[in-house]
Symmetry: C2
Subunit: 506 residues, 2 copies
Amino acid sequence: MNAPDTDSELRAAAAARQRATLAALRTALLAVLPPHCLLFDEEDTRPYECDGLTAYRQLPLAVALPENEAQVVAVLRACRELRVPIVPRGAGTGLSGGAMPVAEGIVLSTAKMNRIVAIDAQARTATVQPGVRNLAISEAAAGHRLYYAPDPSSQIACTIGGNIAENSGGVHCLKYGLTLHNVLRVRMATADGDIVELGSCGPDAAGLDLLAVFVGSEGMLGVVLEATVKLVPKPPQASVIMASFDSVVRGADPVADVISAGIIPAGLEMMDRTSARMVEPFVRAGYDTDAAAILLCESDGLPEEVEEEIARMSAVLARAGATAIAVSRDEAERLRFWSGRKNAFPAAGRISPDYYCMDGTIPRRRLAEVLTGIDALAVEYGLRCANVFHAGDGNLHPLILFDANAPGEFARAEKFGEAILALCVAAGGTITGEHGVGIEKLDSMCEQFTVEEIAAFIAVKRAFDPARQLNPDKAIPTLDRCAQYGRRKVDAGLFKFAHVPVARHA
Amino acid sequence: MNAPDTDSELRAAAAARQRATLAALRTALLAVLPPHCLLFDEEDTRPYECDGLTAYRQLPLAVALPENEAQVVAVLRACRELRVPIVPRGAGTGLSGGAMPVAEGIVLSTAKMNRIVAIDAQARTATVQPGVRNLAISEAAAGHRLYYAPDPSSQIACTIGGNIAENSGGVHCLKYGLTLHNVLRVRMATADGDIVELGSCGPDAAGLDLLAVFVGSEGMLGVVLEATVKLVPKPPQASVIMASFDSVVRGADPVADVISAGIIPAGLEMMDRTSARMVEPFVRAGYDTDAAAILLCESDGLPEEVEEEIARMSAVLARAGATAIAVSRDEAERLRFWSGRKNAFPAAGRISPDYYCMDGTIPRRRLAEVLTGIDALAVEYGLRCANVFHAGDGNLHPLILFDANAPGEFARAEKFGEAILALCVAAGGTITGEHGVGIEKLDSMCEQFTVEEIAAFIAVKRAFDPARQLNPDKAIPTLDRCAQYGRRKVDAGLFKFAHVPVARHA
């Protein structure tokens, strides 16, 4: 009869410790933030328990919503004193669980820092606070006929701070680059509350390129306080080709051909029949639902450039065996062609209770082969998979359809997803194109990288945040985890190289 | 009489220690490299005592020229055992002293690793060893009508490994990006001899973007073993405009105007009258030596695109008050127009015994103001200064003319150079656009960055190379040096943040 008593005593002691931490945290945060910038009650913190990867949830101890830089710094310092970890959060639209809270930590939301500081039309830059929404930048620049190019499908809601943390992509990134290529400068606060400027508005900066290492670091290295991003001129004309193919393989080949012909389309997307059929009844985009695959190829620029590029791309597609080719005749039709692509994920909800979106990349010329491999895996795992993705970037988004209420289906979907990523890595690709690693792909990181490479990541994380205050246990697996993943022997010497701390949560 | 004895005893002991180190080093290196890959004698090591910044010289203990990756790793491990620092070196064409040896260390030259591993015309990439010359990549790709875009003026001689270390630029980088934007993947060896792959051939890579932090890290983080770079199609047509202006200020304004008009020229260079007059008798490029400033604006692409862009740029230049505008009529004339620009630095040697080339960047729209400021500084320091530079990038190359044999002139030239860089920083620019920090601009780093920012650089350097084996005391000043530079108070707390080692050589 002793054991249960001891057990309940331990639980009581743990609960008492947690209450004490929470009380100290409440006092410390209320000393630096006004009450309307803090959430402690469960009904208030519940909306922050997950991001777009809803399968992973965790309530935080509290949510801080600072209104200015000084308050961010004060929160960071208060948490450092109390050794309370911090998960930074933009709009929470991420798809890899990067903004999922940790149980003993707080969420630091930048939602209230949503001011556009300056639009410089001559330098073609916008300087904004981290909580400004992606689309709000383009809206603010529209008067100068400029816009911010990277366009994640969540662009109405997602914030530039979150885009920087995840190095977000989008349809336009083939031509205009990822977030990394469109951010010139970031002011950020380190875990210690030091303010550091990364990058510059000049063509190059002296010193190490810490801006590049910061973009895509998933909230592990610092909190964005302000960013200066590039604006690009709105092209006067845009047209899109919709081409049908009678096999996925035949549709995949011209993707590399278009690029090899010296054309960088403004967008080059592929949908398979499953995707077209799931979206067409929903949005009536005019898709050929008999085709095995559809390619959408956009050109933008001066009217003559667009005309010439559309003609050249059409010729490449025809030579590759397209069974039908349609070119948008006006802006309304162009937007209609795109509406199906943009609504593919919501449409998946109409034909399947649940879906799981992957994000691997592969070299373009291996598209056909990897898509065939995914088909084979779908049979092996007994699950359907829709493919709708950034073909020009070689960035796949296999959408695994499953029913979470059917016993074992979620676990099978996860295994299927891991197998797809392993296939991408084997084809010379990577495990994430634009969604980040977050909590979701920690094991796949062990698939992608050698332990030497993981050790280098850990060493850089430690350089910025030795106490592991910021978003601990995301994005980079511990070397223990790599060893457990089992593919590779981890040399004990490496632990020394990377100054690996004993992971608190692993 | 005791002091000198003690002194000479100390010197003798130091010399004995050095002999012992050298003997141990010789044994260790001969155990891992064949004799023809090692230089120990002064007559052999002398050519390695400096790079293109010849004012700073230092003989190394030895020079290692490994022929393959295993030998590079073996040299790194042997030196780590003996605690002998290593300065990696490409062709030694750098202009900031980044490849200057350290007295107690060796030079690791990648000159013998000069194999082109693969040209993939479909993926448009070249995979090369670090000692491959910049121009050799384009030569190897020419059969596919592809080339490697970044074109430092030393491109005949400089190697891709050195380009990566310095994030080199060139005339074409305005349109095609710096080295950073043209390197997809690097395999490198860390100071410990671990082999790590950075970047990928996919559009994004999971994990921290260590490729970006590695490019431009000036040999401090690792040694390049192999790189995969982007190739771009050779444009079928190129033309260049030569426009004259009767004042530097009037010539500077249209630089921002051209870019604001939505044109990214293939090159946009400026020369002032001093530069035109020093180069014209030498190369007979047909320059207007009465003009206060000349702009060279190049367009490349399809013939119709070039025609349209040349017309639009000519209109902008005419509106800005150009006193003469000439467009190259054929390829021979285009090359002639460029020949003056490309030979400006050698030509400086004809009118001045010595010259010192600076490399600051500024926002384009502040060109006129900064050029006027440099004129004022030239008067203040009593030295002539020629300006010939990448105007479109805002990347200045003031060429300070001096005579090293005239007492005090070199010191005055150095001070003048520092003042120019301070002016660039004050205008919102940076202290180096493409030449790197090296040994030359350590003090200017303290001008450019806060101590918090320098501390972040040091922390990252330590993450890769805790023992400071690789190119110590280059590129990043110690915090002690920042404190001595005196502009800013260095908070003792930061030393802890950055885990700053006691500098061995500071």
